[in-house]
């Protein structure tokens, strides 16, 4: 029998049992819609992650030491901390073997309590402040780094422009290469220079949103004065809009000043800087992390540092995203199996109902193959129709889900995968009843009523 003729028979049968076909395919409809949505959600999540990490260099690593949160900085304590820090550094340099420990203990015993004053912090907590020296240690001792910079942030009261009273902004102390490392681009002016840092100039660069909020617009901000902690800073540049970022400083909302300027006028040593290094080869990241830890362990024994690399952050985000997708896919599979069992049930009943027909087909010379094909094709068509309806359903459901804040990206691939799944389910679950039907002896099938 010709295949087209079999399809013709399938068509006749399906048209005459429209309602039954629809009922059968409900499981498949839901399954297909689920698959399309799952894939759309997965892709949406991936796009989200990609967007969040857009500004991030894959080879970048942030080194920081978690600090116990402190109250507002007090000038005297800061000065003390800074001197301790420099003392320890000189000690380290003059007598590397013995005085490293003493330098540390000096910091613990004398520096810390003085700094804390009446604060309720536990005394055993060690205070470590990463410095430019540490950064230099790392860059000279660890191979495979292309760049390194150090930053810290502080909350400061800002006055100037359209601000009525004062407002609190994030102020970031950075070196000149920060803009390049963070892929920041300028809208107006230039980023902070090395000279600004060395001379502790009171200049700043405003993030796009910050400039807009303080001065109304970016070009008005340029070359104006901003008062940070009551000292005037010249706006030397405004950044282009960066969008949201997953890690690091949210550049749009921040005010950038030279590293040394901030320490001198704003924070003293009361900072928790983050050293950012960039691996020249992404594959070396794990060995670089080990080396950095070794270098830091020399300066600060038994201190815990957090080294987070952008790649693994991205990886983690993608992984959690994948986990979610896998879970959803598992759900879709269950829906499909249930749908498939539904198909199988209906086909079994239909085979029972149509045993006489099968007998007749066999009596007039229908081979096993023809009967098997007809019933499988019927199952296939039912599931294909269900699949198409399911894809349509998913298109209808997407705006609703998106309304709940779920990011979804529909794709042709998703729809095709769903249809593929439908056909496979239909064939697999349609095969058994069809095979049973095709094996009947004609007379038995005929006398079944």
């Amino acid at each position: 029998m010709r295949f087209t003729q079999i399809l013709d028979l399938v068509r006749i049968n399906l048209i005459q049992n429209k309602f039954k076909v629809l009922l059968t395919s409900i499981g498949i409809i839901v399954g297909a819609a689920t698959i399309v949505c799952v894939i759309a959600i997965g892709r949406g999540g991936q796009a989200d992650v990609a967007e969040q990490f857009r500004n991030l260099n894959a080879g970048a690593m942030d080194i920081s030491c978690e600090q116990p949160q402190k109250g507002s900085s007090s000038r005297g304590a800061n000065a003390a901390g800074a001197s301790v820090r420099s003392a320890s550094n000189t000690a380290k340099k003059t007598d590397p073997s013995a005085s490293k420990q003493s330098g540390r203990s000096e910091k613990n015993v004398s520096g810390y309590p003085a700094e804390l004053g009446g604060n309720t912090q536990t005394k055993s907590t060690r205070r470590i402040t990463l410095s430019v020296d540490d950064m230099d240690d790392i860059t000279s001792a660890v191979a495979g780094l292309s760049e390194a910079t150090i930053t810290y942030t502080t909350k400061q009261n800002i006055y100037g422009g359209n601000i009525e009273d004062t407002e609190s902004y994030t102020v970031a102390g950075t070196l000149s290469d920060y803009a390049r490392l963070s892929n920041l681009s300028m809208l107006f002016g230039d980023y902070l220079s090395d000279a600004d840092n060395e001379n502790k100039q009171k200049v700043c660069v405003l993030g796009y949103s910050a400039a807009k909020k303080i001065f109304g617009s970016a070009d008005q901000a340029y070359d104006s004065l901003v008062y940070i902690a009551d000292r005037p800073y010249t706006v030397g540049g405004v950044l282009a809009q960066q969008g949201t970022v997953e890690s690091g400083i949210s550049a749009d909302e921040a005010i950038f000043i030279p590293y040394a300027t901030g320490i001198k006028y704003l924070t003293g040593s009361n900072i928790s800087p983050t050293i950012t290094i960039i691996a020249s080869d992404v594959d070396n990241i794990s060995s670089i992390i080990d080396n950095v830890k070794a270098v830091l362990a020399q300066s600060y024994p038994d201190a815990e540092f957090t080294i987070s690399d952008a790649g693994s952050k991205m990886e983690a985000a993608n992984k959690s995203n994948r986990t979610l997708t896998l879970m959803l896919i598992a759900m879709a599979c269950i829906v499909f199996i249930i749908g498939g069992i539904g198909i199988m049930n209906v086909l079994f009943v239909s085979v029972k109902e149509r045993t006489e027909e099968i007998g007749i087909l066999k009596a007039i010379g229908g081979s096993k193959k023809v009967i098997l094909l007809e019933f499988i094709m019927e199952a296939c068509c039912i599931s294909l129709i269900g699949g198409l309806l399911g894809v349509l359903l998913s298109f209808a459901v997407t705006p609703v889900l998106t309304g709940f804040g779920l990011r979804m990206e529909l794709s042709v691939t998703g729809a095709l995968i769903a249809l593929g799944f439908c056909i496979v389910t239909g064939t697999v679950f349609g095969f058994y009843p069809a095979w049973k039907a095709s094996r009947l002896v004609p007379v038995e099938a005929l006398s079944s009523e």
Partner: protein, 225 residues
């Protein structure tokens, strides 16, 4: 076994299990039909006529004995080949028509030709003559459920004839027909017979059996020549 034998059965037995008991329906049947013969099998209800016919039509297995059709040993033939034989060699008119309810008259009639691999257009063309001969031309789009018993009988006959079988088997072909249409069908059989077809017909009506060349009696599963 001579080459002119269309059907050659020897010692055929068939029984059905009824609970623990065996119901012997055919008892050592020897039955031979020559090519071109028009044979009637006459017998009371329940004597096993339909059972014998199903075996002749390659639709049922026999328990013991041998059966050759056109020299082919059916009792040893695989199902795939049997399907081909049913399609090409045998036209079977069932006692209770056995039309497919979802298909209309035309689709039912051309089904054997579709099975053979013809496309729908060709099959319909090949059946047109037989359809008009049986007076079904104005009922082609109807479903079997919309036909009278006689019309259904004629559809079943048309389906059996359109495949131009070398052996036509008819199980009570006139059972549901009135006098005149019954006579028409029998006249048609006579004509087909004169054209060289081999026909085996079952009936329990002596008058119908008269149309045949030869009559055999089947009584309680035993064939009396």
């Amino acid at each position: 076994m001579s080459a002119q034998h269309m059907i050659c059965m020897h010692n055929v037995c068939k029984s059905y299990k009824m609970g623990s008991e065996q119901l012997r329906v055919l008892k050592n049947v020897d039955f031979t039909v020559n090519k071109g013969e028009f044979t009637a099998i006459l017998g009371p209800s329940g004597s096993g006529k339909s059972t014998l016919m199903n075996i002749i039509g390659c639709m049922d297995n026999l328990d013991s004995g041998s059966y050759e059709l056109n020299g082919i040993p059916i009792h040893r033939t695989k199902e795939k080949e049997l399907a081909r034989i049913r399609n090409h060699e045998i036209g079977f008119i069932f006692q209770n028509y056995h039309l497919i309810p979802t298909y209309n008259v035309m689709q039912n009639i051309i089904m054997p030709l579709l099975m053979r691999g013809q496309d729908r257009k060709t099959a319909e063309r090949n059946c047109r003559e037989i359809i008009s001969m049986l007076g079904l031309s104005d009922r082609l789009a109807h479903k079997p459920s919309e036909l009278s018993g006689g019309q259904r009988q004629r559809v079943a006959i048309a389906r059996a004839l359109c495949s131009k079988p070398s052996l036509l088997l008819a199980d009570e072909p006139t059972g549901a027909l009135d006098q005149s249409s019954g006579a028409e069908v029998l006249a048609l059989f006579k004509k087909l017979h004169e054209m060289g077809n081999t026909i085996v017909m079952i009936t329990h009506d002596m008058n119908v059996a008269k149309w045949a060349h030869r009559t055999v009696d089947l009584i309680d599963g035993e064939l009396i020549q």
